[in-house]
């Protein structure tokens, strides 16, 4: 086994592309080291990306925010501008693990670990976040929802690294929110979760919406029909009722020790409704 800490993304990509055996990217390590310890992965090469310039920074650009792949979630919570623009994304990222884990874990790692229950992913999908993927044949920017393809699996090719997650500039009257159900008060894995992102017009009518559900299918679900149920209306009781029904119907969950199919379906609707209500209030809707 080798550990390397390249100083450029090109070097990191090259080393990963040339790796003969299994290789792993290390940012926060809060998934990788646990999986190594459990014997689930045995990488021959570990590429620590924290030495690469810019990857540990949040940059505010003309287009919005660029969150480097090695930025720990704790830092997201300390960035006032990001919190103001994307409170739902930040509250989701802040739900991952303890304070100790927050000091290490990253939203890019959360995305690439490809757990259907990843907390930050439904919020990122609802936010319409993009991932900047750097690989041997260049750079491509993709919607975050196409990165995980199933539990533990991603669409990233050999040698590809996500360099940053991009969040757009906020339109006026916009708000997002993320909620999950866990049987404890904190530090647990989502049984089911929902992220909602809304933009309103001056009168409080929903102009744009994105609704995403977590732990409800093999990958995070973007529920377009749920968004359509909100667009063109105020968030009245009928719209919320329809949103909940569509979200419950869109779930394809499993029965496991954390929850049953029936429970997940019902709670997905309840959480989508509550997250939409919070997102609406954050967008200034009354």
């Amino acid at each position: 086994m080798r550990y390397i800490r390249p100083l450029s993304i090109e070097d990191a990509v090259g080393q990963l592309a040339r790796a003969v055996g299994p290789a792993a990217i290390l940012a926060g390590g809060s998934d990788l080291l646990v999986r190594m310890k459990g014997g689930f992965v045995e990488p021959e090469l570990i590429v620590d990306i924290k030495g690469i310039a810019g990857l540990s920074e949040i940059r505010e650009t003309a287009e919005g925010f660029s969150i480097g792949a090695a930025v720990p979630c704790a830092v997201l919570g300390e960035n006032a501008a990001l919190k103001k623009a994307w409170p739902g994304v930040v509250e989701a990222a802040k739900l991952i693990g303890s304070k100790q884990v927050q000091g290490r874990c990253t939203i890019t790692g959360n995305l690439c670990n490809a757990s259907p229950a990843a907390d930050s992913v439904p919020a990122l999908v609802a936010a319409g976040a993009k991932a900047v993927v750097v690989g041997p044949s260049g750079t491509r920017t993709v919607a975050v929802e196409i990165v995980p393809t199933g539990p533990g699996k991603t669409s990233l090719a050999k040698g590809e690294i996500i360099e940053a997650i991009l969040l757009g500039k906020r339109a006026a009257h916009s708000g997002d929110a993320y909620l999950r159900f866990i049987p404890r008060t904190e530090m647990d894995i989502a049984v089911v979760s929902a992220g909602v992102n809304l933009t309103l017009d001056e009168q409080g009518v929903v102009k744009a919406a994105r609704v995403a559900l977590g732990a409800a299918a093999p990958t995070v679900l973007l529920v377009e029909e749920a968004a359509e149920a909100l667009i063109g209306r105020k968030l009245d009781e009928a719209a919320l009722e329809r949103l909940a029904r569509i979200c419950s119907g869109a779930c394809r969950p499993i029965d496991d020790k954390r929850g049953t199919i029936e429970f997940r379906r019902k709670v997905a609707g309840v959480l989508a409704r509550r997250a939409a209500t919070t997102a609406y209030a954050r967008a200034g809707g009354k």
Partner: protein
Amino acid sequence: MAGVAVSTVINGDAVEYLCQPDEPLLDVLRDRLGLTGAKEGCGTGDCGACSIILDDRLVCSCLVLGAEAEGRRIETVEGMAHGEKLHTLQQKFLEHAALQCGICTPGFLIAAKDLLAKNPDPTEEEIRFGLAGNLCRCTGYDKIVRAVQDAAQVMKGA
């Protein structure tokens, strides 16, 4: 496996060591450097017994590779007392009997030190949230919370 040569700073002292590329920092501290304050409870980042401060961030040393410490700054429980003089938190843990078996205590002390450095006057709720990454199976937490509250009052007045 080739060893990785690491230069780092631990509790203010420059330290150099060789470690394996997949060796957790916790094992380096305990087995190579004799700093056995940080404990291995779970080894998977759930219990907080191995908590240390890495460049001003509270982390689990079981979830950091020894190789990653190159050029960084590490604080462990061994750096809290000055000679015979205990840190206020250590003194208050004793006074409030905030420990029984002691396995979780170094992690709690470091986590509480980090908490008070960032929030010198925390509410009880903030203490409970701040220490939620540290598990104790003996005391039931109340005495720990009271010790941290008392230490915060003393440290504020200092």
